[in-house]
Symmetry: C2
């Protein structure tokens, strides 16, 4: 089983590394896709990307994770990254987003009518795009979303239960 | 079920927060014990302590975690922290240490004859104190140890399997 994380510089470090190690713990092969080779989190942790967005064969992946921080504002600008996201929604495959990760979903045009948790600062953008804000951890079909690092345990527990 | 984390300032952020959330995910109540009220990791993440070392009733806890960073060099100076560690060894209760966490075990006098993984920079201290260095994740009875954040998944997977 393969999981994919979409990330750019200034990702929220715990929001990337918690699911990264957690999915490995569960036996997943975990890959980072990015427009860059070397990535640095807001807190200074570094990780290398395994794939560019164009290299990703989305049909080979079973789960998608989008961490927060400033990273999603960069991911959302890349059309190939958005194609990956759309594939996961079209095929109804498991997706976990947290914090600002919702920004990528808004740009992919997939939030309308969905119950979604996100960071408070971008809640109005979610609502303007037709989504319904949840102030906690939200499970809406195969989409599991959360607000901030304080939700990590409940976020991943719910995500793993649908994997 | 209750788990206890011993920490001081400049803990290695992922080594504290990964087990913190992971044990919560598993249903544990997780408590931080420290000599200080507010703690700050090497990377700037903050967390409040729940208990002072003298407040800890060690017999009420089922699992002990000692993260690395510069924190263990401070934890090891506190006699009440070392008493907690000795209680866990005397009662053969589950203990997870990582990185520099071994320094606390050396000061508690409990490493002799044990197979232990730790950060390379303090490996010779472990050996001088009579321990056997393992270059990976080590499981020796109820003691599960690891070298660095790259081991987080395997470290916690093994720890949870004995809990």
């Amino acid at each position: 089983m393969k999981a994919l994380i979409l990330a750019e510089n200034d990702f929220e470090d715990l929001e990337l590394f918690y699911p990264y190690h957690r999915l490995k713990e569960e036996g997943f092969e975990v890959y980072i896709a990015s427009s860059q080779k070397e990535l640095r989190g807001k807190r200074g942790y570094t990780i290398n990307a395994d794939l560019s967005y164009t290299d990703v064969r989305a049909e080979e992946f079973h789960a998608l994770v989008i961490p927060g921080g400033k990273s999603p504002e960069r991911v959302r600008l890349n059309k190939d990254a958005l194609k990956i996201v759309k594939h996961f929604f079209d095929e109804n495959k498991p997706i976990a987003i947290i914090c600002h990760g919702v920004q990528v979903l808004i740009s992919a045009g997939v939030v309308k009518g969905r119950k979604i948790a996100c960071w408070y600062g971008v809640k109005d953008d979610l609502i303007a795009a037709g989504g319904e804000f949840v102030d906690g951890v939200a499970v809406d079909g195969k989409l599991v979303s959360a607000r901030h690092p304080g939700d990590l345990a409940e976020w991943m527990k719910n995500f793993l239960s649908i994997l």
